[in-house]
């Protein structure tokens, strides 16, 4: 277990150094969520879709989670890239637990998302979203963000190990992201969905992540601290449920990913 944690950190550590060598990519990623908040959000706010609540408050955590999803879901392409180069072969020939390789990479996907969180918070503050600046809440949001990134990047890695080529991976990535995003409570409450979509939404991990973020996050009125703040949103899982769902699915994905990782080179 000790080895596992240490090696995971070695992988993450060097992924962070890569980001520091070339931070442009991470910064460019912030453009998309900025557009969602500044354009889509401004227009939709006028529809008063979410009764009794400021739409931007409702939407900001959704956009944060959405950008985590978009960054992470294409993470598998990096694995295919490294395989094409030959790096993966060399990693796999070292005495490193496969799950540590997978989790190390996934964790770094989470770290790539931290600048997004900072930028979205700044934008949201400028848009007068009611943010709770309590450090406990901030750390809570961060935790959900990293868990979400681990979950989706590992999911992405699993797909990469199965499809093995960049072209097929891009196709599948596109097919997956939109349904995950639209069948979640990111930009509209689940209550507004037709029944069949609600079912899909409840099995969608993104829903739980956004729900969790909304709980601890600023962006929604957290007057009573709990779920009610998302007015009209009946998801109402407890924070504990959100966390448990995310952590168990991440663990399962990391184990599956660890098992499949070696197949990417065959």
């Amino acid at each position: 277990m000790n080895t596992f944690i240490r090696k995971t950190w070695v992988i993450t550590d060097f992924e962070i150094r890569k980001i520091l060598h070339d931070p442009t990519e991470v910064l460019m990623r912030a453009v998309q969520p900025a557009l969602w908040l500044l354009i889509f959000g401004q227009v939709m706010a006028r529809t008063r879709m979410v009764p009794g609540e400021n739409y931007l408050d409702f939407m900001s955590p959704g956009i944060l989670a959405q950008s985590v999803l978009f960054v992470s879901i294409f993470y598998g392409i990096a694995i295919i890239w490294e395989r094409d180069l030959g790096l993966t072969h060399k990693f796999l020939a070292t005495p490193t637990p496969r799950t540590a390789l997978v989790l190390g990479k996934a964790l770094s996907a989470g770290i790539r998302c931290i600048p997004l969180m900072i930028i979205i918070y700044i934008l949201a503050a400028l848009l007068k979203v009611h943010i709770i600046w309590n450090p406990v809440n901030l750390i809570g949001v961060l935790l959900f963000l990293i868990l979400g990134a681990i979950l989706f990047s590992t999911f992405s890695l699993i797909i990469a190990c199965l499809v093995k080529t960049r072209e097929r991976f891009m196709g599948i990535g596109q097919i997956l992201t939109m349904p995950l995003f639209f069948a979640s409570n990111a930009i509209y409450p689940i209550a507004l969905m037709p029944n069949w979509l609600k079912v899909i939404s409840h099995v969608n991990p993104l829903t739980y992540m956004i729900d969790g973020i909304s709980h601890v996050n600023p962006l929604t009125y957290m007057i009573d601290g709990m779920r009610v703040l998302m007015i009209g949103s009946p998801t109402g899982f407890s924070l504990f449920t959100d966390f448990t769902v995310l952590i168990i699915s991440s663990a399962v994905f990391v184990i599956i990913g660890g098992g499949l990782y070696k197949r990417v080179i065959i």
Binding site: T3, H21, T94, K262
Partner: protein
């Protein structure tokens, strides 16, 4: 003492047999080359011995460890330089070495001195702080070899170590491999298409064709074994493998090889 030994080692891909019931042994301290036309199974053997590819049947031992049942123990005593590029272009040379030092469980205090030593050994001291995408092909290869030697492995696997390099870079890589053998007494198992590479670096060679080992011996023995005065190693290679030569390459293999050559060149 035998350090690599295979017993009826076989790998099939569907109905195609890439490595066919191979029996082979390499003594400790040797430099051994596998030569053969494309598709002869050289890379597949290396992938099995480095635990990247499970064997379909048969066994192999590295040191005292079985590749099928003790892969993690095998990984600790081997180093592997794949044919393709295996260092990260975004990281610096030094960082690439530190990364693998840590993955190979070298005590934290010793990682940095060892990485700096390795850079010096490979003549890369001045470039240690540069990102690897600024390196030339020959520098990348030397860094890759240094990276695989961080934990002082007993066996080093080199898959076409100088593919795509210009003659000067090739010579430098050869010099460093020779130096490394002298200094650490590492056993080397390599594949190559270059007869003079095998002749220069290795004390024993094996010719392979269609997944089988056809003959083996010292370069001199192989040259003497064919009935031709002043035979070169190339003559011997053609003699032993010509009748089995085939087109052999798939599109993906060709494209991969060209890509590798382009990146290194």
């Amino acid at each position: 003492m035998k350090i690599i030994e295979t017993k009826k080692l076989t790998r099939k891909f569907g109905s195609f047999t890439a490595v066919d019931s191979l029996d082979m042994a390499v003594e400790s301290g040797e430099a051994f080359a596998l030569l053969g036309p494309n598709g002869a199974g050289k890379t597949t053997i290396i992938k099995m011995l480095t635990t990247l590819l499970p064997a379909t049947s048969g066994e192999a031992y590295i040191g005292d460890f079985n590749i099928n049942t003790q892969p993690n123990k095998v990984r600790k005593i081997i180093g592997y330089v794949p044919q393709m590029i295996s260092v990260d272009g975004t990281l610096t040379g030094l960082e690439n070495l530190l990364l693998f030092a840590k993955l190979y469980d070298i005590p934290p205090g010793e990682c940095k001195p060892r990485a700096l030593n390795a850079l010096e050994f490979m003549g890369l001291s001045d470039s240690g702080k540069k990102q690897v995408h600024q390196y030339s092909g020959g520098m990348i290869r030397r860094l890759e070899i240094a990276q695989s030697m961080m934990h002082r492995p007993k066996v080093l696997f080199l898959d076409e170590p100088t593919v795509g390099l210009d003659p000067i870079a090739r010579k430098t890589v050869w010099d460093h491999i020779t130096k490394l053998r002298k200094e650490f007494n590492t056993t080397i198992l390599m594949t190559t298409h270059l007869m003079d590479e095998a002749d220069n670096l290795c004390n024993r060679l094996a010719f392979m064709s269609r997944g089988k080992l056809i003959t083996e011996g010292t370069p001199q023995e192989l040259k003497n074994s064919i009935n031709k005065p002043d035979a070169t190693l190339e003559d011997a290679f053609i003699h032993y493998t010509a009748e089995t030569l085939s087109e052999g390459k798939t599109f993906s293999e060709v494209s991969r090889e060209r890509k590798t050559s382009k990146r290194l060149g």
